[in-house]
Amino acid sequence: MPQDTSYTDQNFKLVGTRPRRPDGVDKVTGRAKFGADATAPGQLVGLILRSPHAHAKIRKIDTSKAEKLAGVKAVVTSADLPDLTDGDRAMLDILENCMARGRALYDGHAVAAVAAINAQTARKALKLIKVDYKVLPHVTDVDEAMKPGAPIVQDWVFTTGVEPKPNKPSNISQRNEFGHGDVEAGFAQADVIVEKSYKTEQTHQGYIEPHACLASVRPDGSGELWVTTQGHFTFRNICSSLLGMDVAKLKVTASEIGGGFGGKTHVWMEPVALALSRKANRPVKVVMSRDEVFRATGPTCSTSIDVKIGVKKNGTITAATAELRYQNGPFPAIWGMLGAMTSFACYDLKNVKSVGYDVLCNRPKVTAYRAPSAPMAAFAVESTMTLVAAEIGMDPVDFRIKNAAKEGTLASYGPTYGPIGIGPTLAAVKNHPHMKAKLGKNQGRGMACGFWFNFGGQTCTDLNIGIDGTVTLTVGTVDVGGSRASLSIIAAEELGIPYDQVQANIADTASLGFNDMTEGSRGTFSSGMATIFAARNAIEVLRERAAQMWDIPVKAVVWENGEARATGKEHGNLPVLSLKEIAAKAPRTGGPIAGHNEVVADNAGVSFASHICDVEVDPETGGTKVIRYTVIQDAGKAIHPDYVEGQFQGGAAQGIGWALNEEYIYGEDGRLQNAGFLDYRIPVCSDLPFIDTEILEIPNPNHPYGVRGVGETSIVPPLAAIGNAVSDAVGVRLNHVPMSPPRILKALDEARGS
């Protein structure tokens, strides 16, 4: 039976409350089991040998000495990971990223791996592997990579989306264009046109827990993988495909996760761990060092972006264009396309065009990072928006309100919006006390807006009622931000029972149907939807059982406040049956009581936020401190407000780090210079003010409770909000992120003419 996903306004009992999360105590006391916390009898230590070169041909790998070392049980290279992808280039890219195939494509690219009885032996074995490299020219800068004559990263990549079809390989893998109207005509109508170029440096998600897994492949070809991941079902499908295993015969269990932010949506060393285990016929544990995490996993793109906005003196935008060049690492991807799609999504524009280029470089393969691609585009667009407002003498908030998208707006990336939150978040900015607070010397205020699509996807949930009436909720989306608490609230709300009566668990891949990953802010949205339907299905069973116990027709039984109630003249005097009473009788009324749901949760509901930021800049050192920060975002419906606020704050904190200090620094040799938390400077606690939040609730019409994803949008506005605040504080406009002290001081000195 198709489920009705449409929003219904209702008075909630539990939704919107803040009970304690079930995993909290284990996490703060060290009891929780993360990726590196699993052990198996006879397990080996797996280590990976990585390329020191940004780009090199691998002439030969001699593993013979390592194999002979006592205690070494397996050595693998790409020869042990044959290409089973049957022409699927995207899958082959994943495999090639896990283990170089004849060419090292970036500093840190895996070239071989060993499994040994202990770490000491494994380290010794790595040193015994001799790799004969022929160093090739490399390119790490996105603009350099686009120039004619740049070293070609992949000779099989020809630019798509351009006419005529190119006949020479290029580092530009694709060009994508979005928009509508006639931008030339629009610019011709403008009173003022502002045109600016921006650059953003590459950043890492910076999750505290490094990648870790325990792989065990049996001689019959079946196996198990314990891993820190945002999506164990996807990991299972990809690993089994790459290794030629049957999907049903690889059981993947997701550990507790110490942060992912997109970086754990992708396999890195997990297929290698499985290959080592298969070859050694022993369980193999691989735990990455921080150096490996930085050099070989997860960063987001560095970018180079041009924005042009034309405006009437009354504040109406007549045309807007952007060209966005995103560096993807050595494999084709869609990050520039996403940047182009998100760039003008906040505004209602008659004439708009954005063009995204995806560009290959000799840097690690880029993967998702919280609202991937949107923060850089927003930095460029929202910085320019504030510049335009200043040019026409208009308040930057009023200027945005005048041009904000609303219900019915044709979005620059194609769809027509339903009810959305950009206008309400801007109105909330306007009314927020933060906007009226006094600023001191060298202090300034900035604001900026952000957008993210949100995602729904495949979801599958089980709800089982125990003999004592407690409820096991089994979901397949990894809990990265408190979703077990939120989903328990939803199950309890539907069933009409207390929160404590529900225990939510994350199932392994052998215990539940396929679930898409916890990405795209989908965890609470989609598993929440499946939980509602599973609970409603369980209620149907509960009603049937009550009817059976009373021996009356099921249509005469209603479910209210956690109890079955008989209705109608002839049954109305029957005493109610509680969920506990029905559960206790289950063995004699038809067996276990459960509800299930499988759904493709469509129409996740787009998300908007507006941020306000105050900074203080030291004009003599360029050092910048964020002194006040406010996040205002539409949540649709906040199921557990603590974790909604936590997402708002976490995204803002990551955005602040990105804006001010975080960056991948490459040397002339193409090697990463700062592969550690000492010199890759994420903010420490004392760097941040308390991040204030305001949750707006504009219901998503396509979710029974009105939920929208909330996990990502909060990282989108900070780069521009801080840039605008720095400009307000000391009068210089930074067009290069991070706005590190040397960059700010240089801009100040140039402005002072010294």
Partner: protein, 285 residues
Amino acid sequence: MRFESPKTTREAVALLAKEKGSAYVLAGGTDLLVRMKTGLIEPDLVVDIKRISAMQSIKTTASGTRIGAAVSGAELGENKKLKKAWPGVVEATNLIGSDQIQGRCTMVGNLCNASPAADSVPALMAARAKAVVVGKNKRRTVAVEKIITGPGETSLAKGEIIEAIILPRRSTKSGDAFLRFIPRTEMDIAVVSAGISLTLARGVIKSARVALGAVAATPLLVPAAARAIIGTKLDDVALEKLAAACSAACKPIDDKRGTIEYRTKVVGVLACRAAKIAYQRAGDA
């Protein structure tokens, strides 16, 4: 790898002198263990000096204050007398790492690690501190600025060990200060730093020492910077000359932590700010 915990300096020196392979001294271990864990070094011998009583204490005598090599940053920070006498030195040492690191790290370890960016070293140099160096057959007292010879390099001979740091006794109306610039608020390595110690006579700077960190291959003592403020009341002209002398003395590099241009400019800014604090402290002393 062998691990030894001798009870006396003499035993420690003997162990280090005798070792044919690579030998390292362990005090707090906040640099050594990191290097071992990342595979940068594989010691044959590690000599733990924390059990040596001569290295565990802070003692003040007529000639000055002797701080044992195994005294942690946290212990210095809790020593009220020392904090009053040499606030700049204590503050500099307390900037190393985090609270957890402070419980382990030592000034002598910071000195022997010989980083150009070491936090405590410019403050010690400005304070005219001396190191008590013990070898197999002799014991010598060396100015701190003579210890570091290059990044990671010291003038200590094989088998030599620093037993203590001596801070001189100084006249009243003296003050010192240390400032470093980091892009974050803590848990970072100095991009530039400056330590200044000065003594006043009727409000005029009678003597001064200025030392800079992270602007050359070693921490730098800059006599020209001291001369720029001696004989002044730290007026704007003196401060300008101080900044210019500091910028002129430094020979920084471009690296992941900062640029030549940035370091050259900001070192003068920090020196002026540190001088103002030291001057204020001297006046209040």
